[in-house]
């Protein structure tokens, strides 16, 4: 890993035998939780760090024991099987839809750690024996200490559960996809960022990689200044449906000059990708620019991971008008073709009259 501050981790995957508890389930040992486990799980969960399990055991037996211990609800997509742990980690990464370099795996067994690391070089691997005396030591480490605790981070595990529920219903759904999307009763709410949104806004710039136009991160102070500026609009959006809220999932910064509107930053959480709402935010900003009679430019910095965003811009008929070093591009859109909002989403914008 390079210099600078350690990357904040998004998930921690636990081994069970001799890591989470002392003893081996299969050998009918008298299992006791390691020191500080309950406190650590609770705190990590509240920090929005996702917890999961990769353990070689019988799924039913292990889950029953976790339930007995009152900690089963903390774990998302637990992989308790007899197959290689590297496969379990791959399944967890897939289910959580986050980068392998943001996941840590903790195990006491040298062989298991090596096997998993060999298959996933980017994964962070932790030797649990270093923490047997007191797991709360993990809580003091920067990599498990996100700078802010937002409403979205507190609800993160819940949002995954709501999402799993949706996926289940989608998989069972027999009709066309549009009808399914219609049945979700989605609302996409775009608003000017308020002071209360700034922590989440900063968190979004740090956490979002794939659907991020520039990868530029902003500090709380910078965002606050831009929010108050008369020459900028700092917009944030939220998606909700009948199952609950996906949280604040998108952020955009537009410089609103008299002649030119310049989209400095646009990003969207990958969680909403399959909902077909990706273009709503962009379309809204383009409509506003068109009404203002301005030219519309957008900054873009190519990274290894944001190709999807590049494709979205190009397919929305943005043209490259400038390209500089290190993948810097300025796009222009002539605003003749703006994609209409999909019919299955009701869109609320800052100019929509609020319901009383």
């Amino acid at each position: 890993m390079g210099k600078g501050k350690p990357k904040e981790l998004k998930a921690l995957v636990w081994d069970l035998d001799n890591t989470l508890w002392k003893g081996v389930l299969l050998e009918k040992d008298d299992l006791t939780l390691r020191a500080g486990i309950v406190e650590t799980l609770k705190a990590l969960d509240e920090r929005g760090i996702l917890l999961s399990i990769a353990s070689k055991n019988n799924h039913g037996d292990a889950m029953a024991r976790l339930k007995q211990l009152g900690i089963d609800h903390y774990f998302l997509f637990p992989q308790i099987t007899w197959s290689a742990k590297s496969e379990s980690l791959a399944s967890i990464k897939e289910a959580l839809n986050i980068g392998m370099d943001t996941i840590a795996f903790i195990d006491d067994d040298d062989f298991e750690r090596a096997e998993v690391q060999a298959a996933h070089p980017d994964l962070v691997v932790i030797n649990s024996t270093d923490y047997w005396s007191d797991y709360t030591k993990l809580l003091g480490e920067p990599r498990f200490s996100p700078k802010y605790l937002t409403e979205d981070s507190r609800r993160r595990r819940l949002m995954y559960l709501e999402s799993a529920q949706r996926d289940h219903i989608e998989a069972e759904y027999k009709g066309p996809k549009e009808e399914f999307l219609q049945s979700l009763e989605m609302r996409f709410v775009i608003s000017r960022a308020t002071e209360a949104d700034l922590q989440r806004a900063e968190e979004l710039t740090v956490r979002t990689n794939q659907l991020n136009s520039t990868g530029v991160t902003f500090s709380y102070e910078e965002l606050d200044k831009l929010r108050r500026s008369n020459e900028h609009q700092l917009l944030i959006c939220e998606l909700t449906d009948k199952f609950g809220s996906y949280g604040k999932i998108g952020l955009a910064l537009v410089e609103t000059g008299r002649e030119v509107w310049h989209l400095r930053l646009m990003l969207m959480s990958c969680r909403v990708m399959s909902r077909g709402v990706g273009t709503i935010f962009l379309s809204y900003i383009m409509q506003q620019a068109k009404e203002a009679g301005a030219r519309f430019l957008a900054d873009f910095i190519q990274t290894e991971r944001n190709r999807m965003m590049y494709v979205s811009y190009k397919f929305s008929q943005f043209k490259e008008v400038e390209s500089g070093e290190n993948g810097r591009i300025v796009f222009e859109n002539d605003l003749t073709n703006i994609q209409p909002f999909p019919k299955y989403v009701s869109v609320v914008t800052p100019s929509t009259p609020r319901e009383k």
Partner: protein, 82 residues
């Protein structure tokens, strides 16, 4: 199966609307007609790259190369010809 038929099948498996309502000819603009959503764009690019072992460069990412069955087929043929 010829290349147009393969492309047509791929698009058909990604439609957002009910197949009976989605009759599209080889020259119809699949994006304009609302048959597919924005996420489909990337899937389509990845499909073309993987199925036909070619690399779609930034300059190739023009809507005109991807917006109909006929245009996708032409694009693939052109890339393969080098």
């Amino acid at each position: 199966m010829d290349i147009r038929e393969q492309i047509r099948n791929f698009i058909a498996s990604n439609l957002v609307i009910y197949e009976d309502n989605a009759k599209f000819g080889d020259d119809d603009d699949i994006f304009k007609a609302g048959f597919v959503d924005s996420m489909f764009a990337l899937k389509l690019v990845q499909y073309v790259e993987k199925e036909h072992s070619l690399r779609v460069e930034n300059d190739d990412l023009q809507l005109a190369n991807f917006n109909s069955v006929a245009n996708i087929a032409k694009f693939i043929a052109r890339k393969k010809a080098g």
